[in-house]
Point group: C2
Chain length 241, copies 2
DNA sequence: AAGTGGTCTAGACCACGGC
DNA sequence: CCGTGGTCTAGACCACTTC
């Protein structure tokens, strides 16, 4: 019998989607047992291997834990480490109020470092957006984003103040961001940076230079961020293998 | 027939190991086609599903690329981002000479922050090893490691100067390290730190506080590192999904 | 002892790629 | 067209956990 007469969604995928739905709906709580392979095989009228495939993949994605002899259980809510998220998203995930003030938004030329990171000629026209990031009333970062002006015509006339740059790129320009390579070091705050962040000039600040790539591995945004360290630390997780 | 009469290594694992060996030996170069599922099934006298399992897992690990209709190919040498590596390993991967000088190696008590990060009572005895990390003659980091003294008796009498702490833990204590959670910020160098790093007191340095976990998710080592920023940046990669 | 996940068989049909 | 990987079947035995 062909595995798939009606929809073209594979059977193992249908099982996964059904389970995910039950997890998201709260019907299956973290720690709860998920139906066993044999149970899924009966209920969905598939073979054991297919039910097994569904669960094994969900384990790799971190959605469930599988314990031999015991069963398959809904995993604790996933903590996203090393996740590329917009400022707005990061703040939201911590339940903090996010605000940002645009300090400048214009087209610039001759910013050679940014151009190099975006793999465009050194004197290309770039959209530059400089923002002061705040949590409530407290400033904690100055970020300068650069994008190739040629590919983002009209960007500066969009409501940047109100919508996250990420969602603008993803919705208005159909760009799917995939990952970023970030270079982190420490530097002393310049007089201007210090004033914006309301710290003393020369105080150590965290500097993150971030090249953000699209799903086609094309460098799309370059960001230089300077962060106050007294109320912000960068969290990362690294794996041995 | 039982799948496994002689060794207790699963058949799919034996196939993986054989292929890895051929890749490491250079017999199979990046881009080369790996034997197909059917070929492996014949050669290793296993079913298609088993050969398939071997290749699918190798693809997830990034060792090979699989293309439907085309075949399975040795992947480009993997670039390890966000990889938990010892100082020695990091330096070796960049082809730099690694040296480190032990500044102090003793058992301490009452280091409450370290104890907390290791999930042991606040006044537990901890092994503390402070090292100056150098590339050639140039110092670039001061690192203090803490480990629960109870679990690592005899550690201080081992040749720490000569062998990496990671390999000592993995070989002499049978500990498998799995991942680390790191908190990164910037701070001003103290007089002592500045002297060790041959920079000016008050210069910004990168501070990385790292809790290293074993495969059982047990906190095993806590490290506080202070890094010169003029010849060192931290590179990380983050993913959108 | 009963149930679970881990491994495995010996086939099958399909969609896709390259020639 | 033929070979590839992707999905799937209807079973099997084993090691393990829980009771």
């Amino acid at each position: 019998m062909p595995q798939n007469t009606v929809s073209d969604t594979p059977a193992y995928r249908r099982i996964q989607l059904a389970l995910q739905k039950r997890i998201e709906a709260g019907e299956l709580q973290p720690g709860d047992a998920v139906p066993s392979e044999r149970e899924l095989a009966r209920n969905y009228e598939v073979s054991l291997m297919t039910a097994r495939h569904a669960l094994a993949e969900m384990e790799r994605e971190g959605l469930v834990d599988r314990r031999r002899g015991a069963g398959t259980f809904v995993a604790l809510p996933k903590i996203h480490f090393n996740r590329l998220a917009s400022f707005t998203e990061q703040m939201a995930s911590r339940g903090l109020p996010a605000r940002s003030r645009i300090l400048c938004a214009s087209v610039v030329e001759g910013e050679q470092e940014a151009a190099a990171r975006l793999s465009v000629p050194p004197h290309s026209r770039l959209v530059k957006i400089e923002r002061l990031r705040q949590s409530g009333e407290q400033p904690f970062a100055v970020e300068s984003c650069y994008l190739p002006a040629e590919e983002f015509v009209g960007l500066l006339s969009l409501p940047l103040e109100r919508r996250s740059l990420f969602s603008t790129l993803e919705r208005d320009y159909g760009i799917e961001l995939a990952y970023s390579d970030e270079e982190v070091d420490a530097t002393a705050a310049s007089a201007r940076t210090a004033e914006l962040l309301t710290i003393h000039a020369g105080s150590p600040v965290l500097r993150i230079r971030q090249a953000i790539f699209s799903t086609q591995s094309k460098p799309t945004v370059y960001v230089i961020g300077l962060y106050r360290c007294d109320r912000h630390t960068l969290m990362i997780r690294r794996f041995r293998r």
